[in-house]
Amino acid sequence: MLSLDLLVAGLISGLVIGLSALAVTLVFGVARFPNAATGDAMSLGAYAALAVAAGTGSLVAGGVAAVLAGILLNVILYLLVFRRLSDRSPIMSLLASIGAGFMIRSSLGLVYGQDPQAFRVPLARPLVLLDVRVQWLDLKLAGLTLATLAVVYLILAKTAAGRRMRAVSADPALARVSGIDPTRVMLTLWALAGGVSAVAGLVLGLKTVVTPDLGWNLLLPAFAAAVLGGIGSPLGAVAAGILLGIVQELATPFVGFTYKIAIAFAVLMLVLLIRPRGLFGRAEGAR
């Protein structure tokens, strides 16, 4: 039953990649640039959770703190940096986001040090379902990921703010003449992306250890998943993250552990050759 075990392992890795890809794709869908500071918002969220969880002893309080920290960070970044760059080339915003990420990462290093830190989560023996070992923590984290996805979906599909966001995403000029205030929309969007990044950081931090490089190290797979899923498609990002995770793990019996990452990227290239818009992306002409 090794392959079923591998499937579960891939699913769990994939959920983490999918969450961070979701944060990337949210910003890309509306602000139209790949936000390279996404990984560092994840790290900030993880450290906020770590600090509050250590102080209060409650992981839930830690999670809330993480989300608040992620939202706050992204709102500040938008107001100070990205709003001013919104009418320039997306390359400017991309470069600014690399710089912003650098500052966040270095600040975390200065404040918390570079030494890896770990959440104190009680360890438990696994649940055996149909001969497959499943961890309680993984189940909870998968639940948290799905809940986050559901919240994002509800906000985008069912609220007025979500409709405005989708309107700006589809056609910024038309949205503006329809009386939609782009600044308000962007603030909501950045806040949402910040919250999602923080949850991704929290999940990754709980599964691994927290270092200032935590999110940065996951940025490349997250970008890959965002592209694979179809840029701007929240569902696509999560599905592609899970796909990448599963492909990596299922490839290991054939290519070994050192080449599994290369296999994931080979799949990315193949999919893009056959379907350039990604799995769930819309066909889009140049504007």
Binding site: L2, D5, A9, S13, G109, Q114, D115, P212
Partner: protein, 407 residues
């Protein structure tokens, strides 16, 4: 143990100013330029800041004691990020812009292997704490300019094999982080273990920065080993040990001491850690040099020196280098200084345990043997040390040394 950039800057500034101050008759005294290239960030960050501060503070002390052969030491600090690319860029800058004559403190094997062609090319000395066996021999050490103050991974592997045999394990498997050090450890173990007539159930090499190592672990556990020998670092070890416990397996682990830190020990807890034996080269505790280093380290880092054996090695690097500068005499070039390093490390000559003591003995024309804080050194023809190793077991709070093995 936190890296405080401000403090370091202040120290560097102070060191620079002190080095630049005129000193009476020796106003035009030359300075010997040293690069302190340490893993301040990345996988080696647990040790890097302490190493770097130790080098800077030791150099400042040697300068305060009057310097060596009329020269003072000026330290340029940089961060190799525990990454070969970053290490090469920093080493290039140190060698070409700061014109350092020696680079001290590279920690990761990957970094040392990447930096050594540059130091060789520049005719500069490299002092490292890396384990990769390839660092001992040509082409890496073709010019005999490189010295390591840590046991080679091969020797670590031999110590692992002795400990595995002593603990009565029969079916070991290995898991290695995919770099020169991780693989060096597990291959050193495999070589020594097979020489004892044993065999491995499985040898896995894994990639860094993965959110999970479940598949890697599962493929090892499927071969039913009784112990897993690791060549790993802090982050990956924490994940692997946690996931191992969650699989319900009852294997034991033998791992290098650098693979755990205070935070991961606290989070993993006794249920996991009581199955682990950590192995570390034993510092020269009880020696006067160690006591001196310990005092210096406490002052710089606010923590006992015993927690950072690499800083003890960094201390020895600076002292041994300064003694070699002294022994080579005023105006000596790097080649002449380099030729002095191995003889000064012993084992022959009058035992000295500090720079001042060694310098005075050298001035009196005596042969000296510097016994350091990290080990008695006694560098061999390859520039390698052979320390003893301690096997540590978890006592509910921390890892406690149970016995010492000699290889």
């Amino acid at each position: 143990m936190r890296f405080d950039r401000r403090q370091t800057l202040r120290l560097m500034a102070a060191g620079t100013l002190a080095a630049g101050l005129p000193r009476g008759a020796s106003a035009q005294a030359e300075e010997f330029r040293v690069g302190a290239l340490c893993p301040v960030t990345g996988a080696g960050a647990t040790f890097g800041a302490g190493m770097q501060k130790t080098i800077i503070a030791t150099a400042a002390r040697i300068n305060a004691a009057g310097g060596a052969a009329g020269r003072t030491f000026r330290v340029f600090a940089d961060d190799d990020q525990t990454q070969p690319q970053a290490g090469v860029l920093a080493a290039k800058k140190l060698l070409e812009v700061n014109r350092v004559q020696a680079i001290l403190g590279t920690w990761s094997s990957g970094v040392s292997l990447a930096v050594i062609p540059l130091t060789n090319e520049a005719g500069a000395i490299l002092m490292n704490t890396s384990g990769a066996p390839a660092l001992s021999v040509p082409p890496a050490n073709a010019k005999h300019l490189s010295y390591r103050f840590q046991a080679t991974n091969d020797r670590f592997g031999r110590a692992f094999a002795q400990i595995a045999a002593r603990e009565g394990f029969k079916r070991p498997a290995t898991m290695a982080f995919n770099n020169a050090s991780g693989i060096g450890n597990t291959e050193g173990f495999a070589k020594a273990w097979k020489a004892q007539g044993g065999s491995l159930t499985k040898a896995v090499v894994y990639e860094p920065n993965q959110p999970s190592y479940r598949s890697e672990l599962q493929s090892v556990l499927d071969t039913k080993p009784d112990v897993i020998v690791m060549g790993s670092y802090v982050a990956d070890t924490a994940i692997i040990l946690r996931e191992w416990y969650q699989t319900g397996a009852t294997t034991k682990f033998i791992l290098p001491d650098w693979a755990v830190n205070a935070s991961t020990i606290a989070s993993l807890g006794e249920d996991v850690l009581s199955n682990c034996i950590t192995v570390e080269s034993v510092a020269n505790e009880g020696s006067p040099a160690f006591a001196d280093f310990d005092a210096l380290y406490r002052k710089e880092m606010g923590a006992p020196g015993r927690g950072n054996n690499y800083a003890a090695m960094a201390y020895d690097m600076m002292v041994l280098l300064a003694l070699a500068v002294e022994a080579a005499g005023p105006g000596a070039d790097v080649a002449a200084i380099n030729a002095r390093i191995i003889p000064l490390s012993g084992p022959d000559g009058e035992v000295v345990s500090s720079f001042a003591q060694g310098r005075d003995a050298l001035k009196a024309g005596r042969t000296i043997n510097y016994d350091g804080a990290s080990s008695v050194l006694d560098l061999d023809q390859y520039g390698d040390v052979t320390p003893d190793f301690g096997a540590y077991k978890f006592n509910g709070k921390s890892f406690e040394r149970k016995y010492i093995v000699k290889i």
